[in-house]
């Protein structure tokens, strides 16, 4: 009964206590409605926001200089002399370093996803909309990169290029681009034979205009959702590269690098050593849950 009412809202008697859920909404309004009424997504969205803000405003929030070493204050426990989360193996304040570390870790996780979204998305649309030969050329090249396990490809490229933040981001972009390209290509192939594209062509629209006005809007949704699910993977992989020594160079604060240098001290102060990894875990799980929430709110099936 309720279903038929939603479908035909004008048939409703104008009652004052009509439930608000029966209002007719546009697509984005209903996505927003579903997101707002999903407590898990709202909560973890706030966590993500807090993490990003903490990283951006790290210089204002950090209680100590993250590079200030202290010979006598090494590996001290929580709360030692105002060091809320203790100190690391060189006596640097751990809370400040985790706050600063978020900057590098978030950037190395997010930027490659954005690059892959643009590059892979473009290649996918071109491949999906272009002719058969172009499609084969693009998709088979992507298949080759698909034939590597992602961790392996990231390590191989950044390892061969000699490590470093920029090389790490290039490597991660190359890892994410093929997958993004596939998503965009599939979405384009689904849309391009629909009637409205045919109609646009009949009115004399050129290939580029059709791609920009008619295809892009329909491909953006799946691409965006896939990209949001990749951010968590990106952060895990980026920190993994730093953990292997392929990311930033010391003494720069980065969660993965902190984890790998603190690892040597697990017999001295085990709790402290696990902290940077906990930061990676919380960030990655928050991004994952937010991405899940957005996906079900936008109701895109992949």
């Amino acid at each position: 009964m309720a279903d038929t009412l939603t479908l035909n809202p004008r048939a409703l008697p104008a009652e004052e206590d009509a439930p608000p859920a029966l209002k007719v909404r546009g697509y984005w309004a209903s996505v927003g409605f579903r997101l707002r009424h999903d407590p898990v997504t709202v909560f973890f969205g706030c966590v993500v926001l807090a993490i990003v803000l903490a990283a951006v405003f790290a210089p204002l929030l950090a209680p100590f200089d993250p590079y200030k070493e202290s010979v006598i204050g090494r590996l001290k426990p929580f709360g030692w002399k105002n060091h809320l989360l203790g100190t690391d193996e060189l006596g640097r304040d751990l809370l400040s370093r985790i706050l600063y570390g978020g900057r590098v870790s978030l950037m190395m996780g997010v930027v490659p996803v954005l690059i892959a979204m643009v590059v892979g998305g473009t290649l996918g649309i071109v491949g999906g909309f272009g002719g058969r030969k172009l499609n084969t050329a693009i998709m088979r090249t992507m298949d080759v990169f698909y034939a590597f396990p992602s961790v392996l490809l990231a390590v191989a490229i950044s390892g061969a290029m000699g490590g470093g933040t920029i090389n790490g981001m290039i490597a991660l972009s190359m890892v994410f681009t093929p997958a993004m390209c596939r998503v965009a290509e599939t979405a384009t192939a689904q849309v391009k034979n629909l009637d409205f594209v045919e109609a646009a062509r009949a009115t004399g629209a050129g290939t580029f205009t059709i791609m920009r006005h008619h295809i892009l809007g329909n491909v953006l949704g799946p691409v965006f959702i896939y990209a949001s699910s990749l951010v968590s993977v990106g952060i895990l992989l980026a920190s993994g590269l730093s953990f292997l020594g392929l990311g930033v160079k010391p003494p720069v604060a980065d969660w993965g690098l902190m984890l790998s240098t603190l690892r040597q001290s697990i017999y001295v102060n085990p709790l402290i050593c696990a902290l940077p990894g906990a930061a990676i875990f919380i960030t990655s799980i928050s991004f994952n849950l937010v991405s899940d929430g957005i996906r079900s709110a936008m109701d895109v099936r992949m």
Partner: protein, 318 residues
């Protein structure tokens, strides 16, 4: 079926070729000349030309590639810069250690992941589904290199019941999974390695099972009066191809993605070899390891494709 096997193998060949091109070009991604590690910095132009000719670096790139490919096909991956041993020996030795790990991680991850996924998929939206899906998200988001350290802290540092790192007193050569003194070194790395696949497999299985439950034939089965157990059996059978595909991918990821876990546990497998090669800038080893691992991955994908076709006639006909 024979026709299909033939076609799939034919499709895998260009992929394998492309993979070897990528591995070959890794040398040229490295900053500077590939000969820099061998030549002294004050070498004369004459010596450089001589060494270049000796290594074949004076030839055009496609010729170099074909020569390299010819050597690789016969099992000659060159020599490790760090140890001067043939790369093939280093890689196969390390690979067998990785296989020891994966051999235990795969059944563990697949059985637990599949059970969680089925249990959650059979009760979509109910508390059991929420609880299990929540656990699965944690598995997917877990930095396994960190989880390994946490396990070491708990079981090796605090409780002192399991060894922290390595392969035991006998090392790689004398390692036997049938002796507890050796096998206990496997426990923590295997658990660490299976966490992420458990998360991914249970998520995929849940989605696949829940999707099949929504198909119309389930209503037919129910209308026919089949018991709930029998319906679940039908649903599981129909969700299997999708689950199998992800399991195959995960097998490949375990083989190739164990680098971080092996580094945490200093397990002398292929991943550990790779991270050592990166530190030593040992390009031949880097190249050989990556080529071997990605070929294993390509072969796994091919096998999964065929297995899928074997159990699902819809794929066979397509």
């Amino acid at each position: 079926m024979i026709n299909l096997i033939f076609r799939r193998i034919l499709y895998a060949i260009p992929i394998a070729f492309g993979v070897s091109v990528v591995c070959f070009s890794l040398v040229y991604l490295a900053p500077g000349d590939p000969l820099q590690t061998i030549l002294p910095s004050d070498a004369s132009a004459e010596t450089i030309a001589l060494v270049k000719a000796a290594y074949g670096f004076d030839q055009p790139l496609p010729i170099q590639f074909l020569r390299w490919l010819g050597r690789v096909v016969t099992g000659d991956f060159g020599q490790s810069v760090a140890t001067r041993r043939p790369v093939i020996l280093e890689v196969t030795g390390a690979l067998s250690n990785t296989i020891t790990l994966v051999m235990f991680a795969v059944p563990l991850a697949f059985s637990i992941g599949y059970s969680i996924g089925v249990a959650a998929g059979c009760f979509p939206g109910q508390w059991i589904d929420r609880a299990l899906t929540g656990t699965a998200v944690m598995g997917v988001s877990l930095p396994n290199y960190w989880f390994g350290i946490v396990l070491v802290i708990a079981f090796a540092v605090e409780m002192m019941v399991l060894p922290a790192t390595g392969m035991g007193l006998n090392g790689s050569a004398g390692f036997s999974i049938f002796r507890w003194e050796d096998a206990r070194f496997l426990v923590l790395p295997v658990i660490t390695l299976s966490m992420v696949p458990i998360g991914i497999i249970s998520r995929t299985t849940r989605a696949a099972v829940a999707e099949v439950f929504n198909q119309e034939f389930v209503i037919t089965l129910r209308a026919k009066g089949l018991s709930e157990m029998a319906i679940v059996r039908h649903v599981l059978k129909n969700s299997l191809p999708q689950v199998l595909a992800v399991m195959g991918l995960q097998f490949g990821y375990l083989m190739g993605g164990s680098i971080l876990v092996e580094t945490v546990f200093t397990w002398p497998g292929s991943g550990f070899l790779l991270s050592k090669a990166i530190i030593n800038r040992d390009v031949p080893v880097l190249q050989g390891t990556i080529l071997m691992l990605s070929m294993v991955f390509v072969a796994t994908n091919l096998l999964v494709d065929l297995l899928q076709a074997q159990i699902d006639p819809r794929i066979r006909r397509a």
